[in-house]
């Protein structure tokens, strides 16, 4: 693609949570290395549609632009992903941007993902320590287990996996792959595992792991390549074992 070419964007917009969506089209000058966030920034500098209409700049959420903060998740050409690392060179044009409608839309491409953070409360997504004081030594850890924890701890609560999951939505209470798998992370920790039964019981409740239909979509879209389905399967076994323990009271 030559340098003086334009890239066409078809953007699904929505002025407020209750208003009707509509689309607008914008052209952005191509340059090597251009990504979707950089293109949206270009539109901010010159918010004029292809029809020459001056409009309010497109609203979206972004922070780090390095694929670690999770903020700029949106649906790009039909797939939920981070916009900052969506390179134009690798996308089919025209490029279609839409909000991830699994979540309530705030405005344009910005959605309200607070439900994910609420779910982290339900699964007790923390290690219960006595306090942040510094007089207690930390337990030694198996380096292999720590490596697994490191992988899961990359989850940036972006919501790609919820957007892709057929079981997350109005038809179900499923809290989704990301928060569920976080339970596995805390159950791995030498102190965190003391509360494993609590987390597993939370996952037995409505919206817990039984709502997972094993469609395997989540693992396909995870921008951090976390083996979500592997850990969901492991958690499923752990939850079943816990249920048996509860029955036999051991």
């Amino acid at each position: 693609m030559s340098d003086n070419q334009k890239v066409r964007f078809i953007i699904e917009r929505q002025d407020s949570p209750d208003s009707k969506p509509y689309t607008e089209e914008f052209d952005v000058d191509y340059r090597p290395g251009l990504n979707v966030v950089a293109a949206l920034m270009e539109i901010q500098q010159n918010p004029v549609t292809v029809d020459g209409k001056k409009v309010a700049p497109v609203v979206w959420e972004c922070n780090c632009l390095e694929k670690v903060c999770g903020a700029c998740m949106m649906v790009i050409n039909g797939k939920a992903r981070q916009a900052c690392c969506a390179l134009i060179d690798e996308l089919k044009q025209p490029i279609r941007l839409a909000p991830a409608r699994t979540f309530p839309v705030v405005r344009d491409l910005m959605v309200d993902r607070s439900v994910m953070f609420e779910s982290l409360k339900k699964i007790q997504g923390w290690v219960e320590i006595d306090g942040s004081f510094d007089s207690v030594d930390a337990p030694r850890q198996n380096p292999y287990t720590a490596q697994v924890a490191y992988e899961i701890s990359h989850c940036m609560t972006c919501g790609c996996c919820l957007e892709a999951c057929p079981n997350v939505g109005p038809q179900s209470d499923f809290i989704g792959p990301a928060p569920t798998v976080q339970a596995y992370l805390f159950n791995l920790h030498p102190i965190g595992k003391y509360d494993a039964p609590k987390r597993l019981e939370a996952l037995m409740q409505k919206g817990g792991i039984t709502s997972c239909g094993n469609s395997q979509n989540c693992v396909e879209v995870c921008p951090k390549s976390i083996k979500l389905t592997t850990y969901l399967a492991q958690l499923n076994r752990d939850v079943n074992k816990q249920a048996l323990r509860n029955i036999f009271n051991v």
Binding site: N35, V59, G70, R107, I191
Partner: protein, 608 residues
């Protein structure tokens, strides 16, 4: 009798704000926590390489004193030494705390904490979690704060922007005005004490390694309300970033810590043959590729801009990992190598990376005392937004440490201060309403701006101006010119036109307001740089002759001013002149009695 619950407002949910929050609620206070974003998305998570602490798990006989000396020496003797001493002593305990909280630190085969090398330090002292240490530390505190949120001790205001502090009739800060970034509603909040932990001002330079939210707007707002700024001219320029039009992405110092080498092509001066020139190893034999960041950035600048080596237009040098076994790289640096591939489309395991220096971190910030009080009673500052701990240059992997440590100081101190009964009268309803109304009027005015300038384009120009005049090398002509251009930019701000006149998630109007604060802060940086006639750490000033021309030596190299301890071993203090809307610079003594200043030279091994 039970202690009355004191209410602390913490603005900013990065490492420092979260650490302060945890300390406050553990001791019985309650916190209203304000953040631009869900706190889990704060900029602390961009820190990659690690956090320094003398753990000495490698049998190198590392000592806390060595960490202390490296930090003071690395900061070119401009950091308050008692403050630094407190920080380095706390460091190993901070690591233990994070370990208990579940941070998945990289471990040795024995299961203990692994350590790596970092710039400006001879011993292995950097604890790390792969190459996403900041992310992992932030998540640990985010999780602990969530626990306290469930207990009802922390109330989060996410997607809220701090607008200004509110003082009571005695001039003591007792609340803030903030705006909901979705509904655009503007509200006054009362508190017993306010801690700002709002991070750095990288966006003043436009393209930098910082997140889009690191605009320094909150710092500028309180500066305009009378808070003093310390050492704003000291901005760290990270030598190894991947330049981009939307942002310069950081390529961690850990690359060099794990054996990465920086080079350019050149003709061998003797044989005339084309060869790779590992110029850092050549210029600084003692530290080689692991010289501190200011030193490495100046060297790259010299090689590319003045010697015409390396890649030109755009300027780049090579950072090479391709000689290191791929499985070792995967284990130690996995996350960031993936980032290079994601954003550049090439694999650094196979080809050298192309990098160039970028604005990265602000050593300067709101002036605070050692307990993190600003000069305005009731207002505290913590984390990158304060000026403490790093002097004229920060060592790699000391930023996560100072962020956490400052929160450990500011949090408990906020509560002690609130309980000591020096906070004066709470705000009256009228005072809160008056402050709110001013902010509403300001926002409404911005929403109606109808001029011809575009805020985002002005921001771009601001970045260009600052990079041109106040970056790796500075001279007084340029700095004078910079001040002129910034004044002009401030005037042009009045002529901005917004296309979005609404009041629902109006990002354009909010950005326009932030932009004005950024320009005002840029003037503080520039004025402080103009008046500091020496070179120290990140501030390198070129000597001009009587005609205003740059002076060069017999080899044709630029001549820089020397460090001038007699005149300038002082903290720069910048206050805001409201009438003239200009910065006013004075100097303040600081504590430096523990380690005697000595010449900083990384070509030879450090002597104590």
């Amino acid at each position: 009798m039970a202690k009355a619950e004191k209410r602390v407002i913490v603005v900013g949910g990065g490492l420092s704000g979260l650490m302060a929050t945890i300390k406050i609620v553990e001791d019985g206070g309650v916190v209203d926590l304000f953040s631009y974003c869900p706190v889990k998305r704060s900029h602390s998570l961009c820190a990659q390489g690690g956090i320094n602490a003398c753990m000495d798990t490698k049998g190198e006989k590392d000592s806390v004193y060595e960490h202390f000396d490296d930090t003071v020496y690395g900061g070119d003797f401009l950091a308050d030494q008692l403050a630094v001493k407190g920080m380095v002593e706390a460091a190993p305990k901070i690591i233990k705390m994070f370990d208990r909280m579940g941070v998945p630190f990289t471990r040795t085969p024995e299961g203990t904490l692994d350590l790596r090398n970092f710039g400006g330090q001879k011993n292995k002292r950097t604890v790390f979690a792969g190459s996403t240490t900041g992310q992992q530390l932030l998540y640990a505190l985010d999780e602990q704060v969530r626990k306290w949120e469930v207990k009802g001790k922390v109330k989060k205001y996410e997607f809220w922007e701090f607008l200004r502090a509110i003082k009571n009739k005695d001039g003591i800060v007792r609340g803030i005005v903030a705006q909901n970034m979705n509904s655009n509603e503007i509200v006054s909040f009362p508190a017993d004490v306010v801690i700002l932990a709002t991070g750095g001002p990288g966006q003043v330079y436009g393209r930098c390694t910082a997140s889009t939210i690191c605009n320094g707007s909150a710092v500028s707002a309180v500066y305009q309300q009378g808070a003093e700024i310390g050492n704003p001219e000291f901005l760290q320029i990270h030598p190894t970033a991947i330049p981009g039009s939307d942002k310069n992405r950081l390529m961690s110092e850990a690359c060099r810590g794990e054996g990465g080498r920086v080079w350019v092509w050149r003709k061998n001066p003797e044989t005339g043959e084309k060869e790779r020139w590992y110029f850092l190893e050549d210029m600084y034999p003692a530290y080689g590729n692991l010289v501190p960041r200011d030193v490495a950035s100046r060297a790259i600048y010299k090689v590319v801009v003045h010697m015409g080596l390396g890649m030109q237009n755009p300027n780049r040098v090579y950072l090479d990992l391709s000689h290191i076994p791929a499985d070792y790289l995967e284990r130690k640096l996995g996350g960031i190598l993936e980032m290079y591939t994601d954003f550049v489309g090439k694999d650094p395991r196979e080809v050298p990376m192309e990098i160039f220096p970028s604005i990265h971190y602000s050593m300067g910030g709101i002036w605070v005392d050692r307990m993190h009080h600003t000069n305005i009673p009731g207002l505290m500052a913590s984390g990158e937004c304060d000026y403490q701990y790093h002097g004229a240059n920060r060592l790699g992997a000391n930023s996560l440490l100072s962020a956490v440590y400052s929160g450990m100081v500011s949090g408990p101190e906020a509560l002690r201060y609130a309980r000591a009964g020096e906070t004066g009268e709470p705000l009256t309803k009228e005072e809160m309403e008056a402050a709110r109304k001013e902010c509403v009027a300001e926002f409404d005015k911005i929403r109606q701006m109808n001029g011809t300038e575009n805020a985002k384009r002005l921001h771009h120009e601001l970045g260009d101006i600052m990079y041109k005049y106040v970056s790796v090398e500075r001279d007084n002509n340029g700095l004078d010119q910079c001040l002129k251009e910034l004044k002009d930019l401030l005037k042009r701000w009045d002529n901005i036109g917004v296309t979005d006149h609404g009041s629902w998630a109006n990002q354009e109007a909010m950005f326009t307001r932030q932009l004005r604060n950024m320009i005002v802060y840029a003037m503080a940086i520039t004025k402080a740089a103009r008046l500091r006639d020496e070179s120290r750490g990140a501030h390198a000033k070129i000597v001009l002759d009587a005609n205003g021309e740059r002076v060069t030596d017999e080899k044709g190299d630029l001549v820089f001013m020397n460090r001038d301890d007699e005149k300038f071993m002082r903290t720069t203090i910048v206050s805001f002149d409201k009438e003239k809307e200009e910065p006013v610079v004075t100097y303040r003594e600081f504590e430096h009695s523990l380690i005697k200043p000595r010449l900083r030279n990384y070509a030879v091994a450090k002597k104590e």
